[in-house]
């Protein structure tokens, strides 16, 4: 009886999960399948089940993307900008968080309150004055202007902070007795013991930065430094609108992230479970 009950329950769970999964996956399928369809059929079939059938599929849309934009260049720029932000961000934010969580220094409380207040300020809110600032410094149209402002991040500091609070103090105490300085403790004890936190912050930063649109639109002008999300605007602004091309581009833009994420998924979930994210 109990066995039957459990069976039934998991059956219902599966039904719910499968239908939700169907709803979740269909926009992505629409994109994937639209990307290999002849242009004329993308829209005409969008309203029927045919939208999810590749039909006489081909890679023309992908060829079009390569013909219309220098995809490799955009990809390189995105990778460079994003990975620098992620790596430098991991370093400076974790160090700051450690200082807030473990070290005693003047102004600590006040400055931490400031960090928390900054947490809610989105880029859009400060984009205009920041744009003025960097334009005056002559930083327009460089990699620096796309990297430097985003390295320090209040949210990352907050995540590291809560994680470090949960680390047992004994780890550090033992090292300190051995005569290790703070820097050594941080780099040899804290970092190796905080992999999940680093993975989580890295993935979250990567996801946010990979999709940035407004800022590079404002501050860059040449293709040589522009990231991927801007390339897509090439497809909307120049009529005729090619849905197939847009989809092909989207697939190519998401694919690297998907791979990275698939690879780090386990770490990420563990990280979420152990950083401040879960409260």
């Amino acid at each position: 009886m109990i066995y039957l009950y459990t069976k039934l329950r998991s059956l219902i769970s599966y039904i719910v999960l499968f239908s939700l999964a169907g709803l979740f996956i269909s926009p992505m399928l629409l994109m994937l399948i639209g990307s290999v369809k002849p242009e004329a059929r993308v829209l005409s079939e969008a309203g029927s089940l045919l939208a999810f059938v590749p039909g006489d599929w081909n890679l023309q849309n992908y060829r079009d993307v390569f013909a219309r934009v220098d995809f490799a260049r955009y990809l390189f720029n995105s990778l460079l900008i994003t990975s620098l932000i992620v790596l430098l961000g991991l370093l400076v934010n974790s160090m700051a968080a450690y200082a807030f969580a473990r070290l005693q220094w003047r102004g600590r409380r006040l400055l931490f309150a400031l960090v928390l207040a900054i947490l809610i300020l989105p880029l859009e809110a400060i984009a205009v004055p920041l744009f003025y600032q960097v334009s005056m410094w002559g930083w327009r149209d460089t990699y620096i202007v796309q990297i430097l402002p985003f390295i320090a991040n209040a949210f990352s500091i907050f995540l590291f902070y809560t994680f470090f609070l949960s680390l047992p103090r004994e780890l550090e105490d033992a090292a300190r007795i051995d005569g290790a300085g703070t820097s050594r403790i941080f780099f040899t004890i804290i970092i190796p013991n905080s992999k999940p936190a680093f993975a989580t912050v890295a993935i979250l930063t990567f996801l946010t930065q990979w999709g940035v649109f407004l800022w590079p639109l404002m501050v860059t002008s040449s293709e040589s430094v522009r990231p991927l999300p801007l390339a897509i605007s090439t497809f909307y602004t120049l009529p005729p609108l090619q849905w197939g091309d847009i989809f092909a581009f989207s697939v190519m833009m998401v694919l690297p992230v998907l791979l990275v994420f698939w690879f780090f998924q386990r770490w990420f979930i563990r990280g979420v479970a152990s950083t401040g994210i879960k409260g």
């Binding site: 769970s13 599966y14 719910v16 999960l17 939700l20 999964a21 979740f24 926009p27 994109m31 639209g34 829209l43 969008a46 309203g47 029927s48 370093l91 400076v92 700051a96 450690y98 070290l103 005693q104 220094w105 003047r106 600590r108 400055l111 400031l114 207040a117 900054i118 947490l119 809610i120 300020l121 989105p122 859009e124 809110a125 984009a127 205009v128 004055p129 600032q133 402002p149 985003f150 320090a152 209040a154 703070t182 990979w210 649109f213 407004l214 999300p229 897509i232 989207s250 833009m253 998401v254 998907l258 994420f261 698939w262 998924q265 979930i269 979420v272 401040g276 994210i277 879960k278 409260g279």
Partner: protein, 294 residues
């Protein structure tokens, strides 16, 4: 001696990040506060003038801006409970020993990794008017043809819900993962104790799961609130704030003012209002959360 060294190390450790935040977030924000009281226009050769509260007075006089405030509130009030609840349901479903759990989890999380600018474009096609839109086609199919095709993104009543749907699709996976992590962090002994006490499923949920998940839920709701207030990209790409301001948001109005109309001062004033608003709302939420705890 030892103590002194420690102080400077702490400052040194915090310095790079703090300098970054100061230069690239705090300074421009202070600049925005200053500019909000001036007449600055992008690249204007006119002398900069102090205009007092004029920008603020104008904003609250402008139906588009007041509508943006209302929309942000509506969006937050609907989205925070809805998205949190859906995320909780998904997390609970996936917290059972099921085959393919990892696949489902990855699937629900996948939209999160899609940049918003792409998500919005795909959903334009889904919400396309007439029977050729995917959603219209789908609804017609499951209602056996009774559904009348709608122009979702141009209907004053449907446009904001359409954006909500897009945002839920894109965002719920993230909340789900956090809640799932929270669920998995609940000590197994608590469940065992509950089952020894003869508690039913619902009782266990109310008395063990929810209280244990409390902090996680507060965090999720806080995050969702902040994200709801920042709503911008979907609007920019899908509706341009229309129809009749039905989907305009505070952030959209700020970007419009500053870049389309070149009215930097007005954009700065909106920024200041935005900051105060989010500060008040989050402080209120934290206050409520603390009260309940006490």
């Amino acid at each position: 001696m030892q103590q002194r060294a420690l102080i400077s190390t702490g400052t040194l450790f915090a310095l790079p990040a703090l300098a970054g935040l100061l230069i690239f977030v705090a300074a421009p924000f202070l600049l925005a506060i200053g500019l909000a009281f001036t007449n600055l226009r992008l690249g204007s050769p006119l002398p900069l003038e102090f205009v007092g509260l004029k920008n603020f007075v104008r904003l609250f006089d402008d139906p588009a801006f007041t509508r943006a405030l209302l929309n942000n509130f509506t969006f937050t009030v609907v989205m925070v409970p809805l998205q949190t609840l859906l995320a909780l349901v998904l997390a609970l479903l996936l917290n059972q020993p099921l085959r393919g759990q990892a696949v489902f989890r990855a699937l629900f999380f996948m939209p999160v990794i899609f940049p918003l600018s792409l998500v919005a474009v795909v959903w334009i096609l889904i919400f396309a008017p007439g029977p050729s839109g995917t959603l219209n086609g789908f609804l017609q199919y499951i209602s056996f043809g009774y559904w009348q095709p709608q122009d979702f993104l141009h209907d004053p009543w449907l446009a904001l819900p359409a954006i909500m749907l897009t945002s839920i699709w894109q965002g719920v996976g993230f909340q789900m993962v956090i809640l799932l992590a929270g669920l998995q962090g609940i000590p197994q002994q608590l469940y065992e104790a509950a089952s020894i006490d003869g508690a039913g499923r619902w009782q266990t949920f109310w008395n063990v799961t929810l209280p244990q998940l409390r902090n996680t839920l507060i965090f999720v709701m806080l995050m969702t609130t902040i994200l709801a207030f920042r709503l911008f990209e979907q609007v920019q790409i899908m509706t341009h704030g229309g129809p009749r301001h039905a989907t305009t948001t505070v952030m959209y109005e700020a970007v419009q003012a500053a870049f389309t109309r070149q009215q930097i001062a007005r954009g700065a004033a909106i920024t200041v209002i935005f900051f105060l608003l989010v500060l008040v709302v989050t402080a209120f939420q934290r206050h409520v959360a603390r009260q309940e705890h006490a």
